[in-house]
Symmetry: C2
Subunit: 444 residues, 2 copies
């Protein structure tokens, strides 16, 4: 979630406000009861792109707040087809409404109602609908000869996993694999469409994931993080490291492999650079302009800071990663069977209490040890050398850090998607309960 905010602002959550200070080092996100969302003070990628006449569309999940003033069209997007929250459900409409699907600023239905998801069979046409929306948008912008930014944020492969009928049962990886196959097909269709329209050499396409596989969902509802430790919701590599593909025929040679370490925040700076625009100069932008990497496969040495809330959990510098805090999830949650690291257990690393290592961070060499299994012994010269390099990087970072006002601290059942704009026409307005705000509590 914080990833969408980071991608679109080019800034760490701790700077752009998309975080909580309620609970130390816990993962905040944006369920329907969240009061806040993306701050009006933040400048989003589509807002800057407008300066050059770009038409901006988001298709799919927004997740930067679902109340009217948080929605995409209030933050620089010209069009939207999709939902403000995740496709969890179905709900009974009295305790909790089903999540609405919007066409621009009006709802056109709700998940599990007009937009079916059969949790038993796993069938849903959502990805196909989002694909059609994408193809249609590309076609119309091309006809109008306008530059465009399409943020295609399909819900798939988030659990509950679904695929449309023609993909169900087709992969060797169960329903999750079917969903991946449909996603892959859909991206392929969009690329083919760009070629067919003759604009493939003018269109920069970037594909990546916002976090590692949610391995706590078990094998039927999630992928695998390969050699990496744990998964989504953690600051171990399984939660944070993703592959990415950049596609731009005539500009990026096909088959090029880059070892550049990037973050989704770089998409902000890189996209603006490619569009001939500058990043905002009135605030600190964390994202780097990776266009030299795309064009010349250069390597830019840069640190990465891994946060949970306002706590810096870990830092990556070169091939080394230092953990200042470790935990996967709480004992309480773990004992209920929620496991962020199933089948994995590294003593003193995948801890179920929040363990501080500030005085002597756990340091891994991710080249030799991509699975974060063998902390480098603190007595070695390698450890001391690396620690002094990392310490300098961390001190500089902390010195320049002005935390944003945390936007995800308050919850209220009254703010849920009871009566989104457009519900009247559809006869789908629900009655909200009385407002009773509370400080959100985060389970992990």
């Amino acid at each position: 979630i914080a990833k969408g905010a980071s991608l679109l602002t080019g800034r760490l959550p701790v700077r752009n406000g998309f975080y909580t200070t309620n609970a130390h080092a816990r993962n905040a996100y944006t369920p329907q009861e969240i009061v806040g969302g993306i701050s009006k003070d933040e400048i989003l990628l589509p807002q800057v792109l407008k300066k050059k006449g770009y038409v901006n569309k988001i298709i799919g999940k927004w997740h930067l707040g679902h109340r009217a003033h948080h929605l995409p069209l209030e933050h620089g997007f010209d069009e939207w087809f999709g939902a403000p929250n995740c496709h969890f459900g179905p709900y009974n409409s009295s305790d909790r409404p089903n999540v609405p699907v919007y066409n621009n600023s009006q709802m056109v239905g709700r998940y599990y109602e007009e937009f079916g998801i059969d949790k038993k069979t796993g069938e849903s046409n959502l990805t196909q609908i989002y694909l059609e929306e994408g193809l249609d948008f590309i076609f119309h912008q091309n006809m109008a000869q306008r530059p465009f930014f399409l943020y295609w944020a399909a819900d798939a492969t988030h659990a509950p996993v679904y695929a449309s009928k023609r993909f169900l049962g087709k992969s060797q990886r169960g329903r999750y694999g079917d969903a991946v196959m449909e996603l892959d097909y859909s991206v392929g269709q969009m690329l083919a469409w760009l070629r067919a329209l003759g604009i493939d050499k003018d269109t920069f396409v970037f594909f990546t994931s916002d976090n590692g596989a949610a391995v706590m969902s078990g094998p039927k509802q999630s992928g695998s993080n390969g050699p990496f430790l744990c998964g989504k919701e953690t600051t171990f590599e399984g939660g944070m490291r993703e592959p990415a593909i950049a596609w731009w025929p005539g500009h990026i040679p096909a088959g090029t492999v880059s070892q550049q370490l990037g973050t989704v925040m770089d998409l902000f700076s890189t996209s603006l650079s490619l569009a001939g625009l500058s990043v905002p100069d009135d605030r600190l932008i964390d994202g780097l302009d990776l266009s030299p990497v795309l064009h010349n496969n250069t390597l830019i040495n840069r640190p990465i800071f891994y946060y949970r809330g306002n706590e810096m959990m870990a830092v990556r510098v070169g091939p080394y990663k230092a953990h200042y805090w470790t935990w996967s999830n709480s004992w309480e949650e773990f004992n209920q069977g929620i496991n962020f690291c199933p089948g994995q257990e590294v003593a003193g690393v995948t801890t179920h209490t929040q363990q501080e290592h500030t005085m002597q961070p756990l340091i891994f060499h991710l080249g030799r040890d991509p699975g974060e299994k063998y902390p480098i012994s603190a007595g070695t010269k390698e450890y001391q050398d690396v620690l002094s390099r990392i310490t300098a990087v961390v001190e500089k970072h902390k010195k320049g850090l002005v935390p944003g006002v945390p936007q995800l601290n308050m919850c209220d059942m009254a703010v849920m998607n009871w009566a989104p704009p457009g519900c009247e026409k559809l006869g789908k307005c629900l009655k909200a309960p009385k407002s009773q705000p509370w400080k959100c509590d985060w389970p992990h």
Copy 2:
């Protein structure tokens, strides 16, 4: 080790005799004190290839027995450059000799003596020497216009890990990565040489590994098994599953991906098929002819049986794998810090006692669950359906199984490489101790 015997005989160790019955379900191998080796009764790939005039050479590690009658030139190879055992050492020459390096049937030196391996710096020219031998052999067979079989079995990347000077420190993966890089370079050189000689379209090249990364050696001396469970010495996927590359320009389309499940035993049957030869018809051959897979990317449905000694530990049928016995290694060894599954722990699966599951095997769907983390619940219809399919396959297999005479049961310090043929000329003969045979004991 059993892999080399399987590759060259096309038969399971339990059939070709390359196993032990001393200790239940323990891993036998061929240290210098082993008395036995590959049986004279077995027919090896080069012996069959000779019928069509092939010249056969092995370069590198043999490991099918180091006593005179076990050596490669006694079993169908025309040439050999390499060593009968692994490059462990250095030894002090009184308790244990260093392993000899042979040129055909004469020793030309020993590891750590004439063939240096600097364990401190990690420098050794062994891979370069083996590469030069390979290039030279290919050149001479081509000049003579004779068909050839080159079994290039480099010691690298076995621990202790080494690389030559120009590769040391060059990878992003430490010394192990350097060794992989040199291996990759060496294979590339041989392919380039085939192209330069104009015989690339007439030469079938197959590259694979004989087992998963030896993760018990820690990150500095071993690779990673990615998403798979445990590593070498186990019958979990991390020990058994390997990628493989088949290269044959003009015959196998470049970039083809096959989902075919194969074993090294298939190389026996496939190579003979490609050479226009039949497999021996007087014995059961486990290897399949995969040439239809190579030519037409067909898929052959076949089971795989995973043994330790004479115990069938597990069976793979389609995407399912059933474990009849589980264990990684003993508590005794584990408590000494030897860990075949570092950072991994799946309750009831990575056990440190030998647990029998014959009545209710643990079954995994390797598509949904490549890491063998989620046994399918025995109460489900899926489990019952799969079990009945697998049971039929296992019963058929067991019915047709005639175990070979186990060759790896006896050990004796007197049989070590004290005075290999050729040692006199070099002044490198050592005095053997008195013969005192014992039943070998295997640690895991």
